[in-house]
Symmetry: C2
Subunit: 122 residues, 2 copies
Amino acid sequence: MRIAEAASQCGLSIDTIRYYEKSNMLPPIARGSDGQRRFSSENIGWLILLASLRDTGMPTATMRKFAALYCKGDSTMPERRKLLVAHAASLQERRTQITRCEELLAYKISVYDGTTNKGGKQ
Amino acid sequence: MRIAEAASQCGLSIDTIRYYEKSNMLPPIARGSDGQRRFSSENIGWLILLASLRDTGMPTATMRKFAALYCKGDSTMPERRKLLVAHAASLQERRTQITRCEELLAYKISVYDGTTNKGGKQ
DNA sequence: CCTTGACCTGGAGTCGCTCCAGTTCGGTAT
DNA sequence: ATACCGAACTGGAGCGACTCCAGGTCAAGG
């Protein structure tokens, strides 16, 4: 599979995939005799995971570390697991940020609607 | 109230507050005779709102627009309301991204734990 | 009077993309 | 055979949203 299809499968842009490869966030990607990238289904699985991680705010430094561990082989599985567990935990925090923002917005909107007659009229 | 306390009240850094002012995301901030910023409690309310909006991914362009509307007076309230409602809607999307990521992570972690014996061993 | 600490400004640096110019390659049409 | 097209390639510039730093001002305390 070439880069255009890979991009449409994982939701990252073509440029982002190339950037991730250049920045060591991907395992080595094969090339055809024409010099173009060929993505395996395992590569696509990796890209889908990265896409989900970056959409939920994982810094690229962490992705790089994760990729480096992956490339070192199975012995790094416990460490990789730890990394994913830590990210899962950070999602809790994000969820509560969203909830707090929703509450604040609901309040502000109620002020605009006049259903709340207190201050804070931003 | 001066900038250090404002920062600790709203959770933004001092640099970020100055950056927001320079970039027209804040209503005009008063200055003392010493040339230093003095934040009113209304200013703090604004900063708290902005902090919550940026933590949940609102682009600064939208914040700038919101600030411009606010500075134009009460006639822009319907438009400001619309803007907040739109952001509240975008939070739904963020929530589902988090949920999808949580599911994917739960799956990947189960693979590490050996409780799932299929492929996808990243 | 001198130092300290909080603030100021302008500007450079960073992160995570995103866009662009210029090139190469494989395939189809003439 | 050649001319062209679309899709991929590279290196590098640009951008959004901060973040950090050097150098300067000012009010208050020792």
